[in-house]
């Protein structure tokens, strides 16, 4: 089953404001070879945009696990929880 189809099953109360920010977008292009965030995020929130030479962030699909924050050892991701009541809302848990 494709990840996109799985994410379609998840219930979100999407905030207008993003709760994720790449602190220094040029760092990912200049200094980060592996771009671990594009692989380890279970929801594939992070995608490398080859044209723009930066990480594109789809915060709307974030499952709020925190994997990106632990995985980016350069600490270039500013990730906090969405505002109260927003974000993922599990149906089963």
């Amino acid at each position: 089953m494709k990840l996109d189809d799985k994410l379609y099953l998840v219930r979100f109360n999407t905030d207008k404001l993003s709760h994720i920010k790449i602190k220094d977008p040029s760092f990912c292009f200049n200094n980060c070879q592996d771009r671990v965030c594009t692989r380890v995020c279970p929801a594939h929130v992070y995608d490398w945009d080859e044209e723009e030479k930066r990480i594109a962030v789809g915060y709307e699909g974030c499952l709020e696990c925190g994997t990106c924050l632990a995985a980016c050892t350069d600490k270039n991701i500013d990730w906090h929880y969405p505002r109260g009541g927003f974000g993922v809302s599990w149906k089963n848990g």
Binding site: L3, L9, V10, V36, R39, V40, A70, R83, G84, N92
Partner: protein
């Protein structure tokens, strides 16, 4: 600013247990929860242990929304399409349960209702952004709401594995790929008769299967399958560092696991209803945060209280929460919330299985970190050995046994095996 005796940050098993024990001791207690209600942000594999939960809410399982009492637990080693398995079954655990499968959205909501019955006020849809201090003493919390400062004599941090507040308070270190595992899971619905037939269960009984080895492509971790009433919880969890190194994505690893012949057949015809992800604190004893200081205690996942070898986490969370709630009540009643007074919380955990078990396994994470081959080579050896031993082809058994040993020593040298046994012995026994 409104004032309370105890403010608990986070409405999971640890936070709600803390709140229940504090409120029962007469403390004016609130739980601040970021979800719509406690449960909507909460995920675990799905096994809840009965006795520790009974300590928080006696006989909970007779009325709580649980899925199935677990009567059979299987452990398997996968290698390619092969599988070697051991299991324990005791139908007596249907009526004298040891563990249940649960779905956390339902269960945590129910637990929060028990907290409310005990006098706890739950404040949902609210983020705690920081702690408030009076000198060195923690004196409350700053929430994300307008005029959102709330005062407390004691704050209990039960914010879960993502330890933002504990880090800000100087109690914990930020998470690192070496000390967390990432787990993804699916809820797959199946009719209850199908579940019972496929897992050889009587009506209402439940089973668990943990699979090591190729279930996670040999990465340190497990694949798990738990039976719910009318669904299966299936997932994989691995340490983050080797997942990064071996360039797997969590969802690809889960699909790899689901495609295994043994697993595929259990899920056949089921429909995926939800896809979930969660981090698991795996730092172990040597990476425990500071558990308390003036006016604050840290419980559950935030305190890295996790025994993944024995699949225990929610029980450590509830016992730590309950202990912190009790200590908070004693300290407040005595009018002394100093660091010295709250040290009683850590003493309680040290006297209980919580820190005894973590201390017992203190060498485990280093051992597995330094020996990443363990779940690659041994599942292979065990499956090959079983396959060779069971092959009937006219080769005399004595010769076959020699061949098996040769096969094993080809994959891992005799000194290597000795070293692994010694290391595992030291780490696990």
């Amino acid at each position: 600013m409104e004032n309370f005796d105890v403010i608990v940050v986070g409405g999971g098993p640890a936070g709600l247990s803390a709140a229940i024990s504090a409120a029962k001791a007469g403390m004016k207690t609130i739980v601040i929860e970021r979800g719509n209600y406690p449960g909507t942000k909460n995920v675990m594999g799905g096994i809840l242990y009965t006795k520790p939960t009974n300590m928080v809410v006696p006989d909970f399982w007779k009325e709580a929304p649980i899925e199935r009492p677990i009567i059979e637990q299987r452990i398997a080693m996968l290698s390619g399409d092969q599988c070697v398995m051991a299991s324990h079954r005791d139908p007596a655990w249907t009526t004298e349960p040891n563990a249940h499968s649960v779905l956390r959205v339902k269960f945590d909501r129910w637990l929060s209702q028990q907290a409310e019955k005990a006098g706890v006020m739950i404040i949902p849809e609210t983020i705690v952004e920081d702690l408030l201090y009076r000198g060195d003493q923690v004196a409350g919390v700053r929430t994300g709401r307008g005029e959102g400062d709330l005062g407390a004599k004691i704050v209990i941090i039960a914010e879960g594995v993502n330890n933002f507040l504990a880090v800000k308070a100087g109690l914990a270190k930020p998470l690192h790929p070496h000390n967390v595992a990432v787990a993804v899971k699916e809820i797959i619905t199946l009719p209850k008769e199908k579940i019972e037939d496929r897992f050889c269960l009587e009506e209402g009984q439940g089973a668990t299967i943990e699979l090591y080895g190729d279930s996670t492509a040999g990465i340190m971790g497990t694949g798990f399958i738990y039976t719910n009433k009318e669904s299966i919880s299936i997932g994989v969890g691995t340490l983050l560092q080797p997942l990064i190194q071996q360039k797997w994505t969590p969802n690809d690893l889960l699909e790899h696991f689901k495609a295994k012949p043994y697993v595929k057949r259990l899920l056949q015809g089921g429909e995926t209803k939800e896809y979930l992800a969660h981090l698991i604190p795996e730092g172990g004893y040597t990476n425990l945060p500071k558990l308390y200081r003036q006016g604050v205690m840290v419980v559950g996942d935030t305190a890295m209280l996790m025994n993944s070898l024995n699949r225990e986490g929610s029980n450590l969370a509830m016992i730590s929460g309950m202990s912190a709630g009790e200590v908070a009540a004693q300290a407040i009643s005595a009018g002394d919330t100093s660091e010295q007074m709250l040290a009683a919380y850590e003493r309680k955990l040290r006297d209980s299985f919580v820190l005894k078990d973590l201390h017992h396994y203190r060498h485990m994470s280093k051992f597995f970190e330094n020996n990443p081959h363990m779940l690659k080579i041994y599942p292979e050896i065990i499956n090959h050995a079983a396959g060779m031993y069971l092959t009937v082809d006219g080769v005399p058994k004595k010769q076959r046994q020699k061949e098996i040993l040769r096969m094993a020593f080809k994959r891992r040298s005799i000194p290597g095996i000795m070293k692994d046994i010694y290391g595992a012995w030291r780490a696990l026994l």
